[in-house]
Symmetry: C2
Subunit: 507 residues, 2 copies
């Protein structure tokens, strides 16, 4: 087949205009319905378009406006489009149809049950990291990988694709420690304590954490109430060179950026399956240059992992995928029957962390115990003590104030220790009758904290006043909801009222 | 659990402002970042919010603006939000958090492999029809139902849910005929011809059609170039009472509205599996009050259905689901090796339809043959002739001008017969060497027509000048691309150049 006198596609341009439009991660461009670019390119409302300027390209959703908002020849950009393109007011902006999304044919094959090899995974992950997938594409990929779970080869492929699609860090140290908790357990905020203990022993632990996926707080959300966490790689490196450790948000150093994009959609869907979990966890750790990783797997009826068998299987898979990448893993299976500590939500969990680090009299014992279990495993894994001696060494490091001193130095190096905010609005939920606490539902409790505004509202969430086995009197406070906005407080209390078995009492 | 002094959630209001913002089906609301509602409700950019006014509710995506576009206390509405709410300028608008999307737990169960019963399907379809699902949710539901195909019970459940979620038509006639082609075959535009023939024999055929899913044209797209198709139920009923038949777009009469929403996302994903296909087809027909349905299933290597076995299985499933709803089906398996007729694209297919109806000398014989095969099946199914005599009766109805006369009367009743538009830009693709045509790829050909602008650009698409087995000379035109916009013409020709095997020639 041949084409004579093929017209060359000239790319029409418009002048960029900053709209001050906040659209979260969605790049949006507004163009007039009567503009020459829409006409010549055949673009209708909600088309995906490729914007180009300064040698950068951004895929954006096009909305059209009748008139009034934009002048002739102008294209209005949302803040995220403006920033990704790095343009200035009036800059020339080329607008084109986006190229075909070839990797979607691999996603379609996967939907229909075919396995994905490494090149296919790479092409998908590269397109995701380059922000070429819309919500429809992202959701289809995640759902397909949940409906037919990823096998080992696919999990390795996804992990490798994710590592390659972002930055990679290297450290001038033979052992680089990392730690992860599988989650599903509200309030399980051991990481800041573990990092402080481990770094007190001269080990290198450049910790990057996620924000919450489906939980009311991720470690990055909690740490942000205690210190700046949006550090770039150079700043992170300075902190680690100075203190041996850091506690930063992974997203700002672009480690495994595809993971952050997938996590946003997983949060909406509230799905999080084994292969994706492994790729998410390990891609971040491998990209961060970790050599030794301790992984906390809480098991409980309402935790993410529900049985010991499932935990053992997950541990085996994690260890196997880690081995492929030359990483030494220790999985610690822990009790996930009820939340850890008292606070659930970024700032409320930060208060528990501070209480443990400062060895305050009322500090939550369970949080302290878990942190020492995990820090002890890390100390043993790194050869800082004999097998079996890790927990005692970790406890001593907390008790003598070394961990708290180290934590403060890390926070100062990151830009200063902060006091977590407190919520303007609180309201307690009371026991409707006396009895013993026989059940605490991690999932509905997490939902309640999220409805109260966590993690976006940092001070929001809840304080849990009881633990399994406690005897409570009629009218005693079971938990207190904390909120920053009246609407969210009301919304959370509505939910609590409709779900009385969040905390179950034996009559 | 009980709550004392529970605050009542007062719903804050804003004044509605029409922005003239075109966002296709997406309801969008713009609010100032500093507005009291965002603060009191804890709403951030890209939150989903529930807008209420006039007793109507609309779920919308919230974007925030710094200032300049909106005054204090104003909420800017996109056109679709404005229309769904039916508000006037300055009207009070309540803004709330949307209620939890309970049916998503059923979607999650389905992702993890559990089957959905009727109540679960109903809850999902109701939420979809009420426009409560975002693209993430829709894509997850469709993908889950493709990864693990719907079984018979689920297909019946989805069909029933879709029928119940929209309007239902009833007709004062013992036999109500309908017809559907499974698609995947570009240019297979038999419906207008079949309706004209069948209605010529006094049968009732209130035909509602879809717009294109993944094809360059649906029957509604083609018919729209010949007559108005956006008729409401009352107008449709008038046409059918007068002429016994109509040819309208199903979307404007709200038959199975969930189907239209799912189709949009299927189009982006380019997936269309058996259970969804059956529910999509039959829900529309059942809601339209059909009692007897003829279904055309083209089979070919690059058609939607690729083997006779698959066609037989689809036919069996369609018949079985139809039987559950008391509908009589006749499936006709046809040759899907190559496109039908010459035109591909709304207006270009309309020209083929007109040529057949007017018995013009150069009318595409294959289109005429197929239309008579299907019309004949309908005439037999309805008892208008003996078994085996249907095709001859249909051919006679075409030849003596009755069908063309009936078609014109139907178009006039719908608002007037139109002349299909022609494209401003055309460019031919030539044979690079002499040889016999041994392959035509329906899929890449359809893709080419879509890149040229079909179906949104009505005149766009392509004219196919050769058929399988034809001998062509070097430099002879194989097809001509038609486009309305230079950008689309260039885009389509780029694709043709990159895919020389759209039409394969034996050397």
């Amino acid at each position: 087949m041949r084409i004579e006198a093929k017209p060359t596609a000239s790319t029409p341009t418009l002048r960029a205009r900053r709209l001050g439009l906040f659209t979260q991660h969605d790049a949006v461009v507004l163009m007039r319905s009567d503009c020459h670019v829409c006409r010549s390119e055949g673009l209708g409302p909600r088309s995906q378009v490729l914007l180009a300027a300064n040698g950068r390209e951004v895929l954006a959703t096009l909305y059209q406006v009748a008139d009034g908002i934009l002048g002739v020849g102008e294209a209005g950009l949302s803040e995220v489009a403006w920033e990704r393109l790095g343009v200035t007011e009036g800059a020339h902006l080329a607008v084109r149809h986006p190229p075909p999304l070839d990797s979607m044919s691999a996603v379609r094959r996967r939907i229909y049950g075919q396995r994905l090899d490494l090149p296919a995974m790479r092409s998908i992950v590269n397109d995701i990291a380059a922000v070429r997938y819309t919500d429809v594409h992202l959701s289809a990929f995640l759902t397909a990988c949940s409906a037919l779970p990823l096998n080992l080869e696919e999990t390795v492929g996804l992990t490798r694709g994710m590592v390659e699609a972002g930055e990679r860090l290297t450290w001038d140290a033979p052992i680089v420690i990392d730690k992860h908790s599988v989650g599903g357990l509200p309030g399980n905020r051991t990481t800041p304590i573990v990092v402080a203990i481990v770094a007190s022993h001269g080990l290198v632990m450049p910790k990057t954490s996620s924000r919450a996926i489906t939980s009311p707080a991720g470690t990055a959300d909690t740490m942000e109430t205690l210190a700046p966490v949006d550090l770039d790689v150079a700043a992170m490196r300075r902190v680690v060179e100075q203190e041996g450790a850091c506690l930063v948000w992974g997203g700002s150093v672009r480690l495994s950026p595809a993971d952050d994009i997938l996590i946003r959609v997983e949060r909406v869907l509230d799905i999080d399956t084994q292969g994706q979990l492994i790729a998410s966890v390990l891609s971040k750790k491998i990209a961060a240059g970790s050599t030794h990783i301790v992984i906390d797997i809480p098991v409980g009826a309402t935790a993410k992992v529900r049985t010991d068998d499932a935990a053992t299987e997950l541990a085996d898979q994690l260890t196997e995928v880690g081995r492929v990448f030359g990483v030494t893993l220790r999985c610690v299976i822990t009790d996930g029957a009820q939340p850890v500590g008292r606070g659930i939500g970024p700032a409320l969990e930060a208060q528990d962390v501070l209480a443990v680090l400062q060895s305050m009299p009322g500090a939550p014992k369970d949080l302290q115990r878990r942190a020492c279990l995990l820090a002890g495993a890390a100390l043993e894994l790194a050869g800082r003590c004999a097998a079996g001696a890790g927990v005692a060494l970790a406890e001593a490091t907390l008790a003598d104030g070394r961990a708290w001193a180290k934590f403060q130095r890390i926070c100062h190096a990151q830009g200063g220790l902060r006091t977590p905010p407190t919520a303007a609005l609180t309201q307690s939920v009371l026991a409707s009758h006396a009895g013993r606490v026989i059940g605490i539902n991690n999932r509905t409790l997490a939902r309640l904290a999220k409805l109260a505004g966590a993690p976006d509202a940092k001070a929001a969430g809840l304080m849990l006043h009881v633990r399994l086995g406690d005897e409570v009197a009629e009218g005693q406070a079971l938990l207190t909801v904390h909120a920053e906005a009246p609407g969210e407080l009301a919304y959370a209390l509505d939910f609590a009222e409709a779900n009385p078995d969040i905390i179950r009492l034996e009559a």
